[in-house]
Symmetry: C2
Subunit: 351 residues, 2 copies
């Protein structure tokens, strides 16, 4: 009865959507040459097979503030799964109330980036995870203290053993990072744009379709392509016209710090654009809060194009279709400290 009622309704809806939105097969074929929808399964991660145990351990570690020296910050502090996988700050505030040098990128779908950090200095999420833990302005911890902290709690020892069953001493800083990588590889957010790429014309409205067309035609997609619409290659910020020092501070030369090649001055990884509408502020400097302004800056600085208001709004509308849905996250219950757990310290060491 229900089934019988449903089929005509669905057919009707298909007919209606075919009437209001013309077939978008040409644009879809073009888009599928440039972009890819998120897969329906978890990705394979190099040298790090995903298992349910490892993912669960990684989730606990991701949410555990005791991996910071002070006991205040977890991965989730700056990559908050409640707010688009970032912290909505210009640059993050860390240990000792110090400000980080660059805007925290979203962790969502980050497994599909070609490399991690704005300058791509970490080849993968496991390498990335080790950075903030040790950075003096972020968690200010040491690998030794992280391992001592985890080893002090029998439940964590059990979880590491289950996650790395072939290892005799599984509680290591490397495995800590691998487990976090495994969990982060599950943080995928299918979006209306994926539904559209997969054939659902109704997933984007007319303005978003026009915005997508313009995103491709005007050249944005030259850098912002692939599964994450960016996150793969490196480009100078200000290819055609350098933005002001407010947006592109002179002191941060981007990938130059990694390669020490003059050509890499002010070169950054093209920002991945999934969930961009919910992860303001923008750019490595975090200086721009309005997505439309960010789009306009990109158009002028990278493409030498002055967008009309309507064009900029169309692209922003399209970018809104990249806001996806995270799988339900059950907040973990973490092991309790023991007498052997190193004490948190908020002290700021003078270096």
């Amino acid at each position: 009865m229900f089934l019988q009622a449903k089929i005509p309704l669905m057919a009707l809806s298909l007919i209606l959507s075919a009437q209001v939105a013309p077939a978008q097969e040409d644009l879809r074929a073009l888009a599928l040459d440039i972009f890819s929808p998120l897969p329906s399964t978890l990705p394979a991660v190099a040298n790090n097979p995903l298992t349910p145990d490892k993912i669960a351990l990684g989730k606990a570690l991701f949410f555990d503030p005791r991996i910071s020296a002070s006991g205040v910050f977890s991965c989730n502090s700056c990559h908050n799964l409640a707010t688009g996988g970032d912290d909505n700050l210009e640059t993050s505030i860390g240990h000792g109330w110090q400000k980080g040098p660059r805007n925290a990128p979203t962790v969502l779908n980050a497994v599909f980036n070609g490399a991690q950090f704005w300058d791509g200095r970490a080849p993968d999420l496991a390498a990335q995870a080790k950075g903030p833990v040790q950075a003096g302005v972020e968690m200010a911890n040491t690998p030794e203290n992280v391992v001592a902290t985890l080893k002090s709690m029998p439940q964590y020892q059990d979880w590491f053993r289950a996650s790395f069953p072939k290892e005799t001493d599984p509680v290591t800083f490397d495995n800590f990072a691998r487990a976090i990588e495994a969990y982060e590889a599950t943080l995928l957010t299918p979006s209306p744009f994926d539904a559209w790429l997969n054939g659902d014309d109704a997933a984007l409205n007319d303005q978003q379709v026009a915005g997508l067309q313009l995103f491709i035609d005007s050249g944005c997609a030259a850098c912002h392509s692939g599964i994450n619409l960016g996150g793969q290659e490196y480009y100078p910020f200000g290819l055609i016209e350098k933005p002001g020092a407010e947006v592109l501070p002179e002191g941060d030369k981007g990938r130059f710090a990694v390669t020490e090649t003059v050509d890499d001055e002010y070169v950054f990884r093209a920002a991945p654009l999934r969930n961009i509408a919910v992860t303001a502020p923008y750019f490595h400097s975090g200086k721009v809060w309005d997505l439309k302004v960010a789009v306009e800056i990109m158009a002028s600085s990278q493409l030498g194009t002055d967008l009309t208001v309507e064009e900029a709004e169309g692209i922003v509308a399209f970018l809104g279709s990249l806001t996806g849905t995270l799988p339900e996250v059950v907040y973990p219950v973490l092991p309790a400290e023991t007498a052997a757990t190193p004490r948190p310290s908020g002290e700021i060491s003078v270096e």
Copy 2:
């Protein structure tokens, strides 16, 4: 088939438990005069009827760091549901890396406390919720800025309307606090001790039963009684013998600051003991990390008793039976900021 197999097994298990643990009816009757098990339903909260909408809104607010001036701290930062509802720090670190004056108490089951804070200065959780938001060393925000932040996000406006349907302007600081109170009233953690109070002899082991008996006989239960084993009445810390200044710093005179009555110098609310084993460090000063040491200090300072090692361990074992299980918490997805959302500021104002 399964059912048939199950019944004999259950019967066998009952016979076995009856053999190893003698009937504990006398102790249970005594305990039920002093303590109460957690109820199986949510409590009624004065002037704040609990509804699913209000609870969901309160959960979002509880986890939202944008209610702090800096955008760094949420309620969950210091009352972390992953770690026993507190932050495992001596005293919390807040805005500008300032240290709070007292150890953060657990939010779990806090709805059953007679009043909130170590000195009981807030009559209920709604009043409590307003404190840290405005405290300069915690979130350093203002009610006006909180309301402006929440009003800037249409999703929050919808949620407030659904939660307070009779009000024309529901997004207020009072309703913000009421919603948080509603959510916190759901954070109940039934424990083995509740199962034992409810009649399950097997829920406590012999050492825990002996520890409970001693907890009552030696006088602990005189202050640590009721549903939360404390959290109701006020007592001088150091009734018989003042602990050292390391544990009881001279500058913090406790409830005296609330009542300005000399009798209330160094008077504090008896700490509620549910989940005490997972919420180190202890006392308002947070100076004691070992629960056994805390128990010994209490015995000598409040009761004039020197416990034997076996006695102290028995009480600690009993206290372990107060560690409960939180209902599954699905991490919320929060509304995204808009152009109207006040910007976070980590600046420290000089007062």
